[in-house]
C-alpha cells in the first residue's frame, strides 16, 4: 500500500514540524516523496499528526467481555486516532502468564487496528504477595510491569519488585496511592465528600505513596512511570524528582484535566474514577504541570463499564470512564485553554508517550512506522451513547459537544479508520 496524504497541515512534535505539506507512506513506513500512490487522501484543512499513543486503555479482555470486547475497543481506539495503546494487566485473569499476554497480542494483531502493548502484572494475580516471571513476560511482549489499580500494600515487596525489574531493565508503572489511607474511600477527601457523605481519600494518600516510590527509585534506580497523578502536591514532587535526575516519568488521565470533585453534582456515578476527581486547585495544577512538562503526558485511562456497573449508588458504582474517543477533543480543549502551540499539545499524546513506551512511533520522519491521525481540529463532535464505538458509554461528558474530529487513522501505512 502506497499512501499519499496531500496538502494537510503536518504537525510533528518530535521534529517541531508544523507546516502544510504532503506525507507519503510505503511498506508501512513513512517514505520520501513518490509519484504513483495506491491511494491519495486529500487532507486540505486537516491536521496530519503522528497517531496517538495512549498509555492506558482497558480493552477488557480477557475476562470482562460483557463490558467490552477487543473488537469494540479497538474500533474505538482507531476512531479516536489512537494507533498505539498500553493496556493495564488488571484483566481476569490478570496478565501474569506469558500465554495470556501472547494470546492478547495475537488477538489484537489479527484485528489489525491499533498496536497493543500489554503491561505485565507486577505480582502474581496482582495480589501483592509474589513477583511474576518478568523476564518470561517480557519475552512474551510485556513492555512494562504494573499493578493496574490494585494496591500493593507490602512496601518490602514493592522494593523487591523494583530491584528485580531494574535487574532486567524493565520499567515499572505504578499508581501512587497509600492503600490504608485510601481504604473504603470513593472520592476526594474535602468539602464535596463531606457534603455528600462520601468516604474520602485524602490528597496525602497520593503524596505519601509517591514519596515512598521516589525513595525506592533512589535506592534501586529502577525506571518508574507514575500513573494518573491527581494532586497538586504530586506534580511538585515529580518536578523535583526530575530535577534531581531520577529515572521517573508520569502521566495524568484526560478527565482529571477537566473535572474536579464539584462535578460529582448529585452523585453522578460517571464521575466515580480512580484516582478520584480532586479539588479545582489540583485540577489546575495538573493541567499546568502537563503544559510545563512536569507531567510528561496524558492518557485516556479508557475504562469501559457497562450500565449495570454504573447504575448503582455512587460508592458502589464501578470506577472508570470511557475515553479513547474523547482523547483528541479533550486534549485540544486543554491545549487551547493553556494557549499552547498545537505541536506542544499533540506532543503529550504522541512523542512524549512514545519516549516512555520506548517505541519508534509517535513521529513523522522517513523510516518511522507510518502511524498517523488525520483530524479536523474545528469539526464538532457530540458525545452520545450512539456516537461512541466503545461498548462503554460511561462518560461524564455525555451530551457535551467538543471540537476535534478524527477523519482518518493510519496504522503501518494502512487506513484503518475513516470518519
Amino acid at each position: 500500500m502506497r499512501l499519499h496524504i496531500k496538502g494537510g497541515r503536518v504537525v510533528d512534535p518530535a521534529s517541531a514540524r508544523d507546516a502544510v505539506g504532503d506525507v507519503y507512506a510505503a511498506d508501512g513506513k513513512i517514505a520520501e516523496e513518490f509519484s504513483r500512490a495506491d491511494r491519495v487522501i486529500d487532507a486540505k484543512g486537516l491536521v496530519v499528526a503522528p497517531g496517538f499513543i495512549d498509555l492506558s486503555a482497558r480493552l477488557r479482555e480477557p475476562g470482562y467481555e460483557y463490558k467490552a470486547t477487543l473488537e469494540s475497543e479497538m474500533d474505538a481506539a482507531v476512531a479516536g486516532g489512537v494507533t498505539s495503546l498500553a493496556c493495564p494487566p488488571d484483566t481476569d485473569p490478570p496478565l501474569d502468564e506469558p500465554g495470556l499476554v501472547d494470546m492478547l497480542r495475537r488477538r489484537a494483531k489479527a484485528l489489525s487496528r491499533a498496536r497493543v502493548y500489554p503491561l505485565g502484572a507486577l505480582t502474581v494475580k496482582l495480589r501483592g504477595e509474589a513477583l511474576t516471571e518478568m523476564a518470561e513476560l517480557g519475552e512474551a511482549g510485556c513492555v512494562a510491569f504494573s499493578q493496574g489499580n490494585v494496591p500493593l500494600r507490602d512496601t518490602q515487596l514493592l522494593w523487591r519488585a523494583l530491584q528485580y525489574a531494574a535487574t532486567f531493565g524493565y520499567p515499572v508503572w505504578l499508581r501512587a496511592e497509600d492503600a490504608w489511607l485510601a481504604k473504603d474511600g470513593v472520592s476526594h477527601d474535602g468539602e464535596v465528600a463531606t457534603r455528600l457523605g462520601l468516604a474520602g481519600i485524602p490528597s496525602f494518600a497520593e503524596t505519601i505513596a509517591l514519596g515512598t516510590i521516589l525513595e525506592l527509585v533512589r535506592a534501586t534506580r529502577a525506571r518508574v512511570h507514575v500513573c494518573r497523578l491527581s494532586t497538586a502536591g504530586a506534580v511538585e514532587m515529580m518536578r523535583h524528582a526530575k530535577q534531581e535526575g531520577l529515572p521517573v516519568s508520569c502521566d495524568v488521565a484526560i478527565h482529571h484535566l477537566h473535572l474536579c470533585d464539584m462535578d460529582l453534582g448529585y452523585f453522578d456515578s460517571h464521575c466515580r474514577l480512580e484516582p478520584p476527581l480532586r479539588s479545582q486547585r489540583d485540577r489546575d495544577a495538573l493541567a499546568r504541570g502537563l503544559a510545563e512538562g512536569a507531567v510528561d503526558c496524558l492518557c485516556s485511562d479508557h475504562t469501559p463499564v457497562d450500565e449495570d456497573g454504573k447504575h448503582l449508588p455512587f460508592a458502589e458504582a464501578e470506577p472508570g470512564a470511557t475515553g479513547l474517543e474523547l482523547l483528541l477533543p479533550l486534549t485540544l480543549k486543554w491545549g487551547a485553554a493553556h494557549k499552547l502551540p498545537l505541536a506542544v499539545t499533540l506532543a503529550r499524546m504522541t512523542s512524549d508517550p512514545a519516549r516512555i513506551l520506548g517505541v519508534a512511533t509517535g513521529r513523522i520522519v522517513t523510516g518511522a512506522p507510518a502511524d498517523l491521525a488525520i483530524f479536523d481540529p474545528g469539526a464538532a463532535v457530540r458525545v452520545t451513547a450512539e456516537s461512541l464505538k466503545s461498548q462503554g458509554k460511561n462518560t461524564p461528558f455525555l451530551g457535551y459537544e467538543f471540537a476535534g474530529r478524527v477523519r482518518y487513522t493510519v496504522v503501518a501505512g494502512n487506513v484503518v479508520y475513516e470518519g
Binding site: 463531606t194 457523605g197 462520601l198 453534582g265 447504575h311 449508588p313
Partner: protein
C-alpha cells in the same frame, strides 16, 4: 450543574432527598403544614383522607424499626396503603439490583417510595429512574442525609424557640458518620440560625466541615456555652472498635452530656436526640429524662412532619 432533582419544573417539591438546596420557602411550607397535621394527630380520629388509594412503599435496605414505623404511621394517617419491604433480608441478597427492585415495585403501582439505604446518594439514583407520578422520600442514605429527621428537628426547635434568627445550636458527637447532623446543619443555615456549632473529637469530624457553615469545637464545655439548643448524636457501637475512639468511657467523659455540662448552656436550653439513645455513652440519664429534654416530643412531631412531606410531594 443539573437542576436540583428534588424540585419539579415549577420549583415544587417532587421528591424529598436532602434539605440541602431546598429554598427557605419550601422548608417553611413543610413546617407550617406539619403544624396543621399536629392538630390532626391530637384528634380522636387521627386520619385524613388525602392519600386515599395511594400506595406508600417503605423500602428499607438498611434495618430500622423506628424510622420505618414513624413513616408507616404517617402514611396510614394520610389513609395511604403501606407496604413494608425489608430488602436487607430479601432480594438484594439474591443479587437483584436496586433499580430492578424499584422497577418491580413500580409495576405494583407505587406512588411514594420511602427509601433508606446505607449508600450515600442511593435515593437520587432511584429518583432519577422512577416514573413522573412516583415520588421518593429519603429516609436516610449513608452518611449523606436524613431530611425528615432534620425537618422534625427544625420543627421541634421552632416549636420551643419560635424563631431561628437568634439561636446558637450545638450538635455534639459523631458528625463524620451522621446524616442527621448534615441535614440539620443545612436546615439551620437555610432558616437563618446565626451560629451552628459542631462538637466532637477530630476523628469524628469530616474534613472541611467548616465549609458547611459551622464552628468547630473540640472542647465540649466551650462549645456548649450559651447554647439555646443542644443536639446529641447517637454514637454507633461499631465506632468504638478502637480505630476512631479508644473507649465509650473516655468518650462519655469528654463528649457525654451531663447535668454539669448542660448548665453551661442557656437556662432555657433544650436537649434533643434523634434516638435511639445510648444512655451513659452520649447522654446521662438525668439529662435524657430531665426538664430540658424534648426527645419524646421530637418523636410526636416526627409523624406530623412525615405526613406533611408525603402529602406535599404526592400532590406535586
Amino acid at each position: 450543574m443539573q437542576r436540583n432533582p428534588q424540585l419539579n419544573a415549577h420549583g415544587e417539591l417532587q421528591h424529598l432527598l436532602s434539605i440541602e438546596g431546598l429554598p427557605r420557602e419550601v422548608l417553611v411550607q413543610i413546617l407550617d403544614t406539619a403544624e396543621s397535621f399536629v392538630g390532626v394527630t391530637e384528634r380522636e380520629v387521627k386520619k385524613v383522607p388525602l392519600l386515599r388509594g395511594k400506595s406508600v412503599f417503605n423500602l428499607f435496605f438498611e434495618p430500622s424499626t423506628r424510622t420505618r414505623t414513624t413513616f408507616e404511621i404517617a402514611a396510614k394517617r394520610l389513609s395511604a396503603d403501606v407496604i413494608n419491604l425489608n430488602i436487607a433480608l430479601s432480594s438484594q441478597t439474591k443479587g437483584e439490583s436496586l433499580l430492578d427492585t424499584v422497577a418491580n415495585l413500580s409495576a405494583m403501582q407505587a406512588d411514594i417510595f420511602v427509601v433508606r439505604h446505607n449508600s450515600s446518594g442511593a435515593p437520587y439514583l432511584i429518583a432519577r429512574n422512577v416514573k413522573p407520578h412516583e415520588h421518593v422520600v429519603n429516609a436516610g442514605d449513608g452518611r449523606h442525609a436524613h431530611p425528615t429527621q432534620g425537618l422534625l428537628d427544625l420543627y421541634t426547635i421552632r416549636h420551643y424557640k419560635k424563631e431561628f434568627t437568634r439561636l446558637t445550636v450545638a450538635i455534639v458527637g459523631d458528625i463524620l458518620h451522621s446524616r442527621v447532623a448534615r441535614s440539620l446543619i443545612h436546615g439551620l443555615t437555610t432558616l437563618g440560625a446565626p451560629e451552628v456549632r459542631v462538637i466532637g473529637p477530630q476523628t469524628l469530624l469530616p474534613s472541611g466541615v467548616e465549609a458547611l457553615g459551622v464552628r468547630v469545637f473540640h472542647d465540649m464545655r466551650a462549645g456548649l456555652k450559651d447554647c439555646d439548643v443542644i443536639v446529641m448524636l447517637r454514637l454507633q457501637n461499631e465506632r468504638m472498635d478502637g480505630t476512631l475512639l479508644p473507649s465509650a468511657q473516655e468518650f462519655f467523659k469528654h463528649y457525654g452530656l451531663t447535668g454539669a455540662k448542660l448548665s453551661l448552656a442557656k437556662p432555657d436550653a433544650i436537649v434533643m436526640h434523634p434516638g435511639p439513645m445510648n444512655r451513659g455513652v452520649e447522654i446521662d440519664s438525668t439529662v435524657a429524662d430531665g426538664p430540658h429534654a424534648v426527645i419524646l416530643p421530637q418523636v410526636t412531631f416526627g409523624i406530623a412532619v412525615r405526613m406533611a412531606v408525603m402529602s406535599i410531594v404526592a400532590g406535586n
